[in-house]
């Protein structure tokens, strides 16, 4: 499976000159918890709602502080056409919860650990259904229950 096929959410980019107040407002209106900071279409950082709490509010930073003063950088990226296992490896190696998905240096979307976990949980449910049927119906030829 290619990494781009696992992206579940739209990506929202802001520029490094925009303010933390703007970032917070955009998060509120768009319903996302992380914005990618772009130079053109190249990702240079990520700012999250957690960054706004820990690096702005907790330190009394003004609301007109620039986003690049609080963003996490460099951003960890993964190629859009890379195998999804490459993304798993990057999550393990870097201990991050989001990867910027790129193609030829251009940002395409955000891959999150949360989305991968939801997909994995769905896969596990599908895999366990025949086993559950064996256990609960007590013989090997039992019919696999249909998906509700």
């Amino acid at each position: 499976m290619r990494t781009i096929e696992a992206v579940r959410r739209s990506g929202i980019g802001i520029t490094r000159e925009q303010t933390v107040q703007e970032a917070a407002s955009i998060m509120e209106h768009s319903g996302v918890g992380a914005l990618v900071v772009l130079e053109g279409t190249a990702p240079v950082g990520i700012v999250t709602d957690r960054d706004l709490v820990r690096r702005v509010l907790a330190h009394g930073q003004p609301s007109d502080a620039r986003v690049d003063s609080v963003m996490s950088s460099p951003v960890i990226t993964v190629g859009a056409d890379a195998d999804l296992h490459a993304a798993y490896a990057l999550f393990r190696t870097h201990g991050v919860r989001r990867l910027a998905v790129i193609r030829e240096g251009k940002f395409l979307g955000m891959l999150t650990v949360d989305d991968l976990l939801v997909d994995l949980a769905d896969d596990l449910t599908d895999l366990s259904r025949p086993i559950s049927a064996e256990i609960y119906h007590a013989h090997h030829n039992s019919t696999v229950p249909a998906v509700p």
Partner: protein, 66 residues
Amino acid sequence: MRAAVGDRIIIKGHRIGEPDRDCEVIEVHGQDGGPPYVVRWGDSGHETLFFPGPDASVQSKEHAHT
């Protein structure tokens, strides 16, 4: 995805009870109406670059006015 200036993009809520969000397309930066788009969010007037995922759909300007 294809969109034009003036269209609205609807983003479905990701959690139960979370409302859908929407924004207005201000500029189209891709070829043939493709992404990315510059969009404006709500009444805040803030503009961002938007890269649609599978959670996003386009409501055309013409459709919105009918």
